[in-house]
């Protein structure tokens, strides 16, 4: 019987959607489920954690855990994994997950799989599926160790609407802080902005926007649609867009219902971050831009001309 431990994805005190998605998948493959939640002042999330589909909630709640630190967070996960006797340990897609998962795997001496899109269990044999090589190939991987730690691709699993769980809280003792890697400061991402991972519509801006005026123009379109606002690497490197806005192979990987690539040429690394989107619209002056090879709808034109028209047409549509 599979025993899946899901690491709760908590951001600014809010339980994110990936937790229910991962727990739903766990139940779908017939596993017993537990969740481990790490942070400060998170006890109030217990019933939500149960309702998300976990039958046991391991809680590590301490002021020292308010800020992310890979070492202590890994210790909490290992603690919960050992207590639960988990054979699968799943993280939702996040920088924290990617930093902690290999540590947990190394401590448990088991396989680690990053960005999985599927997992199957045939008897004792665990297999995972994941993309590789900038999304150009898919790997089916046989797990030889008796446990596996995985980071799950954003949107890979679906939350079941009738999922339930049981409240059964186990408090974890606070881990020792990492004295050799000390956080001195956290420069917060602008709060109040729509998380790219959660957004139904994501609009990203690229080099075609040129400068702040162009960015502001595209941002207005994003605001009209209450869309997440992302960026290609070029604009991030140019210092015009924040790092956390970068959609791409090493940035955010998104799979929204609608993705608009505005003034983005479509480099492989960018495509790897968004080609799982349901529908892609591209606007670019260059008819040969690679982005048109993956866009469902392509508008060849100057974004400075097209974006105002897009806003107008969308306003008309909504009225």
């Amino acid at each position: 019987m599979a025993k899946v431990l899901v690491i709760a994805d908590i951001k600014q005190g809010v339980l994110k959607g990936s937790t229910a998605e991962l727990l739903s998948k766990a139940k779908a493959i017939g596993a017993e489920t537990a969740v481990v939640a790490i942070g400060s002042n998170i006890e109030s999330l217990t019933s939500e954690l149960a309702n998300a589909g976990s039958d046991t909630q391991y809680i590590a709640d301490d002021p020292s855990l308010e800020l992310f630190s890979a070492g202590p967070f890994a210790s909490c996960v290992v603690d919960a994994a050992k207590q639960f006797e988990a054979n699968m340990i799943w993280f939702g897609f996040s920088e924290g997950g990617k930093a902690v998962a290999p540590r947990v795997a190394a401590q448990l001496s088991c396989a680690c799989a990053t960005e999985i899109t599927d997992v199957t269990l045939s008897g004792e044999q665990i297999e995972v599926v994941r993309p590789a090589t900038a999304n150009k190939v898919i790997q089916r991987i046989k797990i030889n160790s008796d446990k596996v730690v995985a980071v799950v691709r954003a949107g890979a699993f679906e939350a079941s609407p009738d999922i339930t769980g049981t409240q059964n809280v186990v408090k974890l003792s606070s881990p020792a802080p990492d004295l050799k890697a000390v956080i001195k400061e956290l420069i917060s991402d602008a709060s109040g902005e729509i998380d790219l991972a959660d957004a139904d519509i994501v609009i990203s801006v690229g080099r075609g926007a040129k400068d702040q005026a162009g960015i502001d123009l595209v941002k207005e379109l994003a605001d009209d649609l209450a869309a997440g606002f992302g960026s290609s690497r070029a604009m991030v490197d140019g210092g015009l867009m924040a790092h956390n806005k970068q959609v791409g192979q090493t940035g955010k990987i998104v799979a929204p219902t609608l993705y608009m690539a505005i003034g983005i040429s479509g480099a492989i690394q960018h495509l790897a971050g968004m080609n799982g989107s349901k529908t892609i619209l591209a606007v670019n002056k260059d008819p040969e831009a690679p982005i048109f090879n993956v866009a469902d709808y392509g508008i060849v034109g100057d974004l400075f001309e097209v974006v105002p028209i897009l806003r107008e047409e969308i306003k008309k549509l909504r009225s």
Binding site: P102, C112, E115, A134, Q139, I143, K184, V294, L310
Partner: protein, 260 residues
């Protein structure tokens, strides 16, 4: 300060990659230095130039890794260790980490710098597993590095909540992402000098270990098969009068794609 920088030769992801009978088709593939390792090399050379660090690269792979070593030499890396053992063709992150551990233990390195992930596997595990096994502090996804003193460096990490400024006690390991720097193009002089520089090549026995010892016979996971990624097809492309085509597309997004 002594720095060990890991460098991997990987398939060029700009090219088309085909899968046939469960395996990647080798024909037509070209190999390059992993993009994020190039960032690691640039970061290392900058620490040499600004802080007088001693620099060594380590790479695991066949004889054709020589050209990426020479490129790194041309960028300014001073020494190279090349682990060339055919048994390592089948390795996972743990095996690589174990081999790198052997290399690390034979030098007195203060800092290990790796790229965030290898662009062929996109795993991003080896560096973190190595740090865990060495019990040294580790920060991944680093976009800035500064030497504070002989024993400490300060790094900026891109986390989920924002940019974390972290002080690390050495020895430590960092993995870097592409926002950290723009790797330099080697100058002709560097390229010429690189051709004559010695490379320290050895197999696992030369490293004082064996395939068995580094876990080669005990892989924790194996790639059972490769499958083709569903490539998106190009959809409809509209050219012409901006007002007209934009209105058309918005209509299609609403009625055909049903996403608006």
């Amino acid at each position: 300060m002594k720095i060990l920088t890991t460098v991997k030769k990987v398939v060029d992801v700009e090219l088309n990659i085909h899968v046939e009978n469960g395996a990647i088709v080798e024909d037509g593939l070209q190999y390059v230095i992993n993009a994020w390792d190039e960032n690691a090399v640039e970061a290392t050379v900058q620490l040499k130039e600004n802080n007088g660090a001693q620099t060594t690269l380590v790479t695991i792979g066949g004889p054709d890794n020589t050209d990426i070593i020479r490129r790194c030499y041309a960028m300014g890396i001073e020494d190279a260790i090349h682990i060339d053992d055919s048994s390592l063709e089948k390795a996972d992150s743990y095996v690589y980490a174990n081999v790198l551990q052997k290399v690390y233990e034979q030098g007195e390195y203060d800092l290990i710098i790796t790229g965030k992930q290898a662009q062929d596997t996109d795993n991003g595990q080896t560096g973190i597993i190595l740090a865990q096994n060495l019990d040294i502090p580790c920060v991944s996804n680093v976009v800035a590095m500064e030497v504070l003193d002989d024993q400490h460096i300060k790094v900026s990490r891109l986390g989920d909540a924002g940019t974390e400024i972290i002080e690390l006690e050495l020895p430590a390991l960092v993995t870097v992402t592409d926002s950290i720097n723009e790797p330099r193009l080697p100058a002709m002089r560097g390229i010429m000098m690189a051709k004559k520089k010695k490379i320290n090549v050895m197999d696992l026995a030369g490293l004082g270990t064996s395939f068995e010892e580094v876990g080669g016979n005990d892989l924790k996971s194996e790639i059972a098969e490769y499958m083709t990624s569903e490539t998106r097809q190009a959809g409809q492309k509209f050219e012409g009068d901006a007002a007209q085509i934009t209105a058309q597309v918005v209509n299609l997004l609403a009625t055909e794609a049903k996403v608006l």
